[in-house]
């Protein structure tokens, strides 16, 4: 199962799970993902080679997508 996780004040919150064979779970997760982008979160997907990529749509075949806040110079 792939997970959509948001880094927030509670530590982290798992917002959704989906799998490649379950279109409904993916669509629900995708909708949630877009809602979070709309309120200022950024989506970062963990790829198979352990690298991370910025995503603007929820990918189907990854294990983890993290929603994070922007960073800035201190």
């Amino acid at each position: 199962m792939a997970r959509l996780v948001r880094l927030d004040h509670s530590g982290h919150t798992e917002l959704a799970e989906w799998s490649a064979g379950d279109q409904l779970s993916y669509e629900r997760a995708s909708e949630l993902f877009q809602d979070q982008l709309g309120i200022g979160y950024m989506g970062v997907a963990k790829l198979a080679d352990d690298s991370f990529e910025q995503v603007k749509e929820l990918p189907l075949d990854v294990e983890l997508v993290v929603l994070r806040r922007p960073i800035a110079g201190g």
Partner: protein, 233 residues
């Protein structure tokens, strides 16, 4: 099935748009910063060292004044290093901090790190990441970059824009941004210092020094050796 989203590897960090006027801090940019920093140190310190020598040559009784001049020559680079090392100083505790949220955030951060890096982060508060520009040590509000060879360190000030996040989540934010786009991360962060690793080490909290030692040791390894270590279970 929908969802076959195309990845574009190397997508720049979106935060770079907020600092569009900055030149990318890549390998060449870092080397330039190192040279400029060394030149600054020479410009500040040489006159003070020379003044001490001249004073003693003119009048040996002026040794105390010469010593004060040399002390200044020593202190100025130390102050620069102090400013740099401060970027990884743990932030002051906030009221009601810790507990469940920090515990949950620590668990997520641990998932982002390898076994040894996890232990090092728990002990020092700094997350070690090996990347192309060198070995990074990521803290709550900044990061150190140990350059290949382990002799020079760059200090960067950066933070998650949500200041109410648990400590470990702040580190996770910086870690994710760094692993997305290393050059972008260095460009977005404010560059605070570039200089000798031993100077920065003296200014770190005692508990953080083993992390710097580990980063320096890793930065001295060739890429082949480091990859062998990475592949260990």
């Amino acid at each position: 099935m929908r969802g076959a989203v195309e990845f574009r590897p190397g997508t720049p960090l979106p935060e770079r748009e907020g600092v569009w006027w900055r030149r990318s801090l890549d390998e060449a940019g870092l080397r330039l910063r190192e040279r400029v920093s060394a030149a600054y140190t020479v410009v500040y310190c040489t006159p003070l060292i020379a003044a001490g020598v001249i004073l003693i040559a003119l009048e040996p009784l002026l040794v105390p004044v010469a010593l004060v001049s040399w002390l200044h020559a020593w202190v100025i680079p130390e102050l620069f290093a102090h400013r740099g090392a401060r970027v990884v100083k743990p932030l002051p505790a906030r009221a009601g901090e810790g507990g469940g949220p920090e515990h949950a955030a620590r668990g997520f951060l641990a998932d982002l790190l390898g076994h040894e890096e996890r232990a090092l982060q728990a002990a020092s508060g700094l997350a070690l990441v090996r990347a192309r520009l060198g070995v990074w040590l990521v803290g709550e509000a900044g990061a150190l970059l140990v350059r290949p060879g382990g002799r020079r360190v760059h200090c960067f000030c950066a933070r998650a824009t949500d200041s109410a996040l648990p400590r470990s989540d702040r580190i996770a934010h910086l870690l994710l941004a760094l692993r997305q786009d290393e050059v972008g991360f260095a460009t977005v962060a404010n560059h605070a210092f570039a200089g000798a690793a031993w100077r920065v080490r003296r200014r770190l909290e005692p508990g953080q020094r083993p992390a710097l030692a580990a980063a320096r040791a890793l930065s001295r390894l060739s890429d082949e050796h480091a990859e062998i270590l990475d592949r260990r279970p």
